[in-house]
Subunit: 330 residues, 4 copies
């Protein structure tokens, strides 16, 4: 596989993960790093021998094949468009934009250029979730009849972040909406969602919720439940259960070790991995590899910009459902 | 504990379970058996040295302390009233009646007599579910924030039964509504339910569904999901997951043996117990014991007639929600 | 199945288990109870409407079909002989005698009468162990190549008991020697054993050990490891692992409930059942049923007196191995 | 941490693992690669931009800080000595030599130079085994009383390899002898071993065994069992169970995914990782990191040359025990 030259936009927590993966891979080089905070960009670039640049020029530089966008959400759409118009392959962290209209405009602009365009839904590259998906496709449980997705963060983000996050559905459950679409292999036609603020009153004060359930239904009647919480004291809780005409598939949490301690108090094993850096560390590597391979071979990038759009539409519908108290048709 | 003399009304599958438990217990005697099919009653009575009687007189006989009603659903309310008016303690299989108005009338009549009155929600007496409930009460996971109940039968009943069953919510999910109320320790104020007919078209033809999800919400914002299916090819799937501010409790299925077989194909262990006779065999014994103890000590019987009524009301609301496509307030 | 009339010799802890099982079964009646402590016998007999008798006459009474011997070990051989000569079927708790010469004499005497004669090795009737054995016989793991048996008591018995117990191998590991023979389907030809006193010095003071490992080898080269401890603080640890040319079978411990509690400290589930009354409660019922069925049908009783003898011989060899420090040929 | 310049001796399967780990680490550079097969060395060196050299000069080159020896076993001792005398830190794959006398000579020579000297016992760096060891040290199960180690390869090596391997104990169980010493925290004083050829007759024909059990005992009476097989059809079986006065620790196999498939046939999950490259992939990275850190900080390297010697002595004793049929004192 020939190597792709990457520009990385955004050198924060997730940008640093991508930087390391690009630098250590056999099929990508980290050429350029940009961040609104110049010192942060400089430090990360130095670590991997990349140059520092401003985001705008990084998106368009001649020696760049692909742009990985991991900057703050409100800049995603603009950088996607810039890079696409400069004929770069684009891998953008979710979401394209918090606003569906803006996301649609971006998607149209990018699509018009014909560049490869992928959205960073990391769940699709998790080893266990991939194994579950493959088993589903092979028909190991026959026709899928219901699906349950559980997704809980270890601790709520600060209220300041909540304010600009777009709310639980656009910020957090959007991952699960993508997972649902991926596994259902069919589009939901109805969403009902309900939520509460049970964990942190300051989340409620900015108009958001921290505990939520959504129920999706496809045209063929398959039902999907998604359950989210902003705070699981035991770690990062990421599980899937698919039920079908011939059985059930469950993907359980990943744990740091296999050690069991049996004492008079019971049998104890490790709690789940603490957060996404641990749980999805390998998934980010697989995501990058799949993106590069698609770009190189000319295959369609998956998940695509359209997948990003569809998950955002579901998030918007769920938010609407909570507001009105009614199910929302898609 | 002094022994109670029981009359058993209904000698079918579940009546036979109760008969054996009464006969083998240290605290109850099976004195009398009644069934619309006289030969069935005779055979069961003979096995345990009990006499055969007509249901009406069995409910009122002088030597009877308690009446266990396990006859067909449409006869429950009448026999409850008969037995209560004859001053017998009454343990009635769920539901009191498929019709809430009729159930209310029965409950009023029985309550007026002051006799002990219990409803046979067997889940409350399952060992694992009891352990989960006790841990919840002890605060092991802090405040409950969400609850998930999965309940799947191994195979759908014949369409003939479906027709008179009252539908999935009154016949099957009613158990889960009771479990939800028991574990939440609070009353749901809203129900949203959705369902499909994915398994057996003949179920749809009589206007019922075989796959359903309900979402309940309490006044304090705790959210409960219930998922039902009429057909799990791997057996009887009965699980609970409670999530709270300090952790999570899960009650998994019971399996026949602990044997694991590891081959080149993977690690295989037993599927869940096949059906309720296996899974809830011990629960029925505990239910009987708890009922007798409450009668003897004068403690309140639990689950009570009012619990039976409340679960039925939730079932009715869920059915209404499916019909209208809207959430229903309780 | 016609019912057998039982005399029970020994009304202690294990005798009480057998009494309840006989009394509640459909295929046996508890007719007579004997115990060196007359009040103990009287109390147990009263509970099940049986008569009290002296052991000697109980073994020979006209209305008795079968004698279950659960008295102290030093009386087993004598009562076996008495009952057999009176033409009763005999089910005797292990061991026949602590002394192999005496056991052989008893076995010869009983065999001469031709009565059905079984030894109470309860492990063979444990649900999980039976499932493992059946899978082994079906060839699920091909040819067995090695076997590992773990057997640990929750707490050591008092030193007074240790003194008369015959030592760890004859008292405790004898069960595992029987399990090994049963599962290997072949006779060990060599035993190496080693042991230590690590738990309770008073056990060492009376010349016994509390921690031991034995390695058995069959003529065909299959190797079996047995590990015993007198004290597992977490309960009764009873596991088997069989390894073969096509895979591995493991029977894990039985636990009281399936509940898992996940907190910041980890995932906790129940420790194993506390002791043999809980773990082997159902096994004792299956053992009784199998014995009665064999007696009634005329099939050979299994495990037989010869099985009891063979396990005792292995225990003796293991004790010899510890004494000499050398492997012992059988 | 300053970077160490490494020469890698041996570019075969395991050498390639080390090469990748050195090249991708932040604390080591792969400067030079040597292999008896020059093309193999050239290819590996090219991949990571290292130079190719003959082993003798690579061991002594001026720009080399550390030598990692992963060549064939019969060359280990010589290269260790060469590198040590050239004042290089040395990390040598096990064993130092198949012959204890030769290993002792090498150890003496290397020790005389005072260079850091480590042996590649990868088990000590496995995540789950490390967690188990740390729990043991913290006293989570009190005083250790017994230990069980299971180690099974997926398939036997070719008979040609067996011939030069030194036999099962020196080639395979040597890892477990090291693990035993590490976990026991005390030296075995007696070894009894027994073995069979059950899998591949050609192994027996060259005088080796493919199935073996060893029992070790320390001066304080702690007992350790080790069970080896050359063929587990389900993958690489690597487990540890430590039992003590306050409980038990078990390290189970690592599995590729957490997916469980439940069908009418049972609940299936993944078999263990296929072989050591998968199971110990991360362990090799941790091993390298620990070695570099010790070299850089001047701490003692662990496991040390003396550990390598001690494990080899146990292997020799076990082989002697099988030959004589008697336990061997250390």
């Amino acid at each position: 596989m020939p190597k792709l030259n990457f520009a990385l936009i955004g050198a924060g927590r997730i940008g640093q993960v991508h930087a390391a993966n690009i630098a250590q891979s056999d099929y990508a080089d980290l050429v350029c790093v940009a961040d609104a905070r110049e010192d942060v960009a400089t430090q990360l670039a130095a670590r991997y021998g990349a140059r520092v640049d401003r985001a705008e020029s990084a998106c368009q530089a001649d020696d760049i094949d692909a742009v990985l966008i991991a900057s703050s959400t409100d800049t995603h759409a603009r950088f996607c468009e810039l890079a696409a118009r400069a004929n770069k392959a684009v891998l953008c962290e979710k979401p394209i934009d918090l606003d569906l209209v803006r996301a649609d405009a971006c998607l149209a602009a990018v699509t018009a250029t014909g560049v490869p365009f992928g959205i960073g839904f990391n769940r699709r590259f998790d080893k266990s979730f991939s194994v579950l998906e493959a088993a589903l496709r092979r028909g190991e449980i026959g026709q899928i009849e219901s699906l349950s997705i559980i997704s809980r963060d270890p601790a709520p983000p600060p209220a300041d972040y909540i304010k600009v996050s777009g709310g639980l559905f656009r910020d957090m459950m959007i991952h699960d909406f993508d997972t649902a679409r991926w596994l259902l292999g069919d589009e939901p036609v109805e969403v009902f969602a309900t939520g509460s603020c049970l964990i942190d009153p300051s989340i409620g004060e900015v108009g958001d919720i921290d505990t939520a359930v959504a129920v999706l239904k496809t045209a063929s009647g398959v039902i999907c439940q998604i359950s989210n919480s902003r705070r699981a004291v035991y770690g990062y809780d990421q599980r899937i259960e698919a039920f079908g005409s011939k059985g059930m598939l469950r993907a359980e949490n990943q744990v740091p070790s296999t050690v069991e301690t049996t004492t008079a108090e019971g049998i104890r094993r490790d709690p789940p991995e603490p957060f996404f850096l641990e749980r999805y560390g390998d998934a980010y590597k697989s995501e990058l590899k799949a993106f590069v391979r698609a770009v190189v071979t000319g295959d369609e990038v998956s998940p695509s910009g359209a997948d990003g759009r569809a998950a955002l539409a579901l998030a918007e519908a769920a938010a609407e459902s909570v507001k009105t108290g009614l199910p929302v048709s898609i």
